[in-house]
């Protein structure tokens, strides 16, 4: 895997607040990378520094293979969280304008605009004023304008968080197609989106990078046996659960619990399974579900972002 972008010791300080604290990572050519983290973790600040909208306090951002003095923005296509347009332009006009500003010839910009309007599914609205577009259409147009100059790195800031479930699915599918053509970095606070599309994830928390790596490796390395237990909502069973959680046998740890269910992480699956089954029969609990499997990324994500 060749490295496309490397970021070293990137820091951004706003007055007193350290928004991004000395982070470093690499993005491989052709990879799809998710920048994950709860709201306020510093994702957008990081992205804005990559795109040049914000000057870093310190640190370097380097594309490999870029000539000395070349403008980093030539290689980046960027879709901000809420894309803004000139309402008096038509969708097609904006694309042509964006294309020409990226250095395409008039002819090239025109044909590329038509192609992209078709591709993001707003070809019929291309001749209408952007002022009358819906949120979903603006998001699609935003994606199209980010792609106009065939960027080496496509940067998307929360591309689906403002969309309804249908729009969300469609945009996710589009990103899924795009990741075969170019390198993609997108930020999200929804783990599920990242899991669905990405090769690599970067998890940020309070301005720091808490976890980075390929999805497969992280999944493998952090795989722990998990028992997930659900009981009926009768008094006896609930009392049993509340009591039992406080005196769990050695080697079993409760991660999350709600009123009628608990997730248990076990050191050794076999011992844990025997212990739980024995306990369940002994106390005559009305069990509704017992699932035995492995920890998901969600467990890992929660562990990382909620760690003290």
């Amino acid at each position: 895997m060749s490295v496309l972008l490397s970021v070293e010791q990137l820091t951004k300080r706003f007055d007193e607040e350290l928004a991004v604290d000395n982070i470093g990572f690499e993005i491989g050519e052709g990879r799809c990378v998710a920048l994950l983290g709860p709201n306020g973790a510093g994702k957008t600040t990081t992205i804005r520094m990559l795109t040049g909208l914000l000057q870093p306090t310190s640190g370097t951002i380097q594309f490999s293979g870029m000539k000395q003095g070349q403008d980093r923005r030539e290689w980046i296509g960027y879709l901000p969280q809420t894309p803004a347009f000139y309402g008096w332009m038509t969708g097609r006009e904006f694309l042509v304008y964006a294309g020409r500003l990226c250095g395409l010839s008039a002819k090239e910009a025109a044909s590329r605009s038509n192609e992209l309007l078709e591709r993001v599914g707003i070809a019929s609205a291309g001749k209408r004023k952007i002022g009358g577009y819906s949120g979903g259409m603006k998001q699609r147009l935003g994606l199209a304008q980010a792609l106009i100059h065939r960027p080496r790195l496509l940067v998307l800031d929360e591309p689906v968080s403002a969309l309804d479930p249908i729009g969300r699915r469609e945009v996710m599918a589009m990103i899924g197609e795009l990741k075969n053509e170019t390198t993609v970095l997108f930020s999200t606070h929804v783990l599920h989106d990242a899991e669905e599309l990405c090769d690599d994830i970067l998890i940020m928390r309070r301005g720091q990078l808490s976890l980075a790596g390929s999805l497969a490796t992280l999944r493998e390395e952090n795989r722990e046996p998990v028992l997930s237990l659900e009981i009926e909502e009768d008094d006896h069973s609930r009392q049993w659960l509340a009591g039992w959680i406080n005196k769990l046998p050695n080697g079993i740890l409760a991660t999350s619990e709600t009123r009628g269910s608990v997730r248990l992480i076990a050191q050794d699956l076999e011992t844990a399974r025997r212990a739980v089954l024995k306990e369940l029969t002994k106390s005559e609990v009305s069990l509704s579900k017992l699932e035995i499997g492995h920890s998901t990324l969600e467990d890992l994500f929660l562990k990382v972002v909620t760690a003290p």
Partner: protein, 263 residues
């Protein structure tokens, strides 16, 4: 250069679609034409006003043609300046706060082009509007009073256009520094007012002061006054103003570079 032209064309397209290309020239034409017409009909207007005592005789001296043109320059100096400041006041702050600056400035576009294309587009429309308005004033002055030599009119138009351009550039600069459009317009107008008051009240000659330009423009219409103004000092003022415009553009560019968007 191609990118600069693309940005410039976009600004013109925006002015066409927002009808600025219609209302700005019309405002200037109305402003320019109204002064000679109002001056011409002033005795009639006063006598028909009705609140004059019986038997009062109004006798106003007929103003000289260059005086009429000079007083229309005064109109441009107040309302024209306001129009220019208002049309520039949110030029950069709006792009920034709406997020469109962030969309454009992540593309390989130079900050200098972004600012100067906008500046050139707005100022070119302002200049054309002023020339239309001043031509209207000149036309009605000739029609209703007497002719004024075109060379003097041209010289005064150039000096005054420089002053308008200076104030327009100030408004553009303040729009990059101040978030509020009204505050930007106010700052530009206040600076202009301050400079021109300083130039007319302080008892020494201020070659460096762009605030002299309106007075120089009006003075250049008067053949008798020409001689008092050495052309060297006029040139110096013009050069200082041009340098000040350049500095204002550098400041605006720097401000956009350090903070391309608000969000």
């Amino acid at each position: 250069m191609t990118k600069w032209l693309i940005l410039f064309r976009k600004e013109w397209l925006e002015m066409i679609r927002s009808y600025k290309i219609v209302w700005l020239p019309i405002s200037f034409i109305v402003l320019g034409a109204s002064q000679p017409i109002a001056t011409y009909f002033m005795p009639d207007i006063l006598s028909s006003a009705g609140n004059m005592p019986e038997g009062a005789i109004i006798s106003l001296p007929t103003p000289k043609p260059f005086e009429v043109l000079a007083s229309s320059l005064q109109q441009f100096g107040v309302i024209g300046l306001l129009l220019i400041a208002l049309s520039n006041m949110s030029a950069l702050s709006l792009e920034r706060s709406s997020g469109t600056a962030a969309m454009i400035l992540v593309k390989p576009v130079s900050f200098v082009s972004f600012v100067t294309a906008k500046w050139a587009a707005i100022l070119s429309l302002s200049m054309v509007s002023f020339l239309f308005g001043y031509s209207a004033a000149w036309y009605y002055t000739i029609a209703l009073f007497d002719s004024v030599r075109w060379l003097e009119v041209l010289l005064s138009a150039m000096l005054f256009a420089l002053w308008l351009g200076f104030v327009g550039t100030l408004a553009l600069m303040f729009s990059s520094l101040i978030r509020s459009a009204a505050a930007a317009a106010f700052s530009a107008l206040a600076t202009a007012a301050l400079l021109s008051i300083v130039s007319s009240t302080l008892p020494f000659k201020q070659v460096w002061n762009p605030g002299r330009l309106p007075t120089l423009a009006a003075g250049s219409l008067d053949t008798a006054q020409h001689i008092n103004n050495s052309s060297l000092s006029v040139w110096l003022t013009a050069i200082v103003t041009a340098v000040a415009i350049a500095i204002a553009l550098v400041i605006a560019t720097g401000s956009m570079r350090s903070r391309p968007s608000d969000v």
